[in-house]
Amino acid sequence: MADNKNVRYLNPIAIDTKSERYCRFREKGFKYIDYKDADFLLMLVNEQGKILPRRLTGTSLKYQRRVGKAIKKARHLALLPYLADQLR
């Protein structure tokens, strides 16, 4: 029974791969996220046009909900694609 002192992990644990741990919206004091501003929303969407999760962007829950709503409205108005092959 290997004693657990020298338990070695198969791969090193990713402690802090993404350094962005602050919420950009709270830092800059965003009051409203506009659904008509497509090129700003493009920064919050990955290449396939999916909404980036909070763990990558580091945004707080309050602003992530507003971002989600704004992106869905922009998609309805064909400002953002529902799915795209390469967006950048």
Binding site: K31, K73, L77, A78
Partner: protein
């Protein structure tokens, strides 16, 4: 009566000629005025490429209208949008206080952007 601020963006099919698109826009603005709404701001984004084809068309004529009206105005306004087949998509949103503040600040920025080029050309001539 209690009035709310609304913002509507709608897309007109690109097949129409210029007068027809103007006429469609005029029709909806008059419909708003008749039901007692007053239009505070309008934006004409013109012909834009759609992110995905709607009804087999890949471009559309975008138009934005910002107005304040009684809530009872919205339902007939939207049914009129649905009935008119020249409109391929529309979205009406109620503006909360942050949205109104944002819209006003955007308008001031646009306003002074328009003034600025005038000054710079004036300086150029001076």
């Amino acid at each position: 009566m209690f009035r709310n601020r609304y913002e509507t963006v709608f897309i007109i099919t690109p097949v129409l000629s210029d007068e027809q698109t103007k006429e469609v826009v005029k029709k909806f603005k008059d419909l708003l005025k008749d039901t007692g709404a007053n239009i505070t701001h309008e934006e004409n984004w013109g012909m834009r490429k759609l992110a995905y084809p709607i009804q087999k068309k890949s471009t559309g004529f975008y138009y934005l209208v910002e107005f304040d009206a009684e809530p009872s105005v919205i339902l007939p306004f939207e049914t009129e949008f649905r009935r008119d087949e020249r409109i391929i998509r529309f979205l009406t949103t109620k503006m909360d206080k942050n949205h109104i503040e944002f819209a006003e600040s955007r308008r001031d920025r646009e306003a002074d952007r328009r003034e600025k080029p005038k000054q710079s050309t004036a300086e150029a001539q001076a």
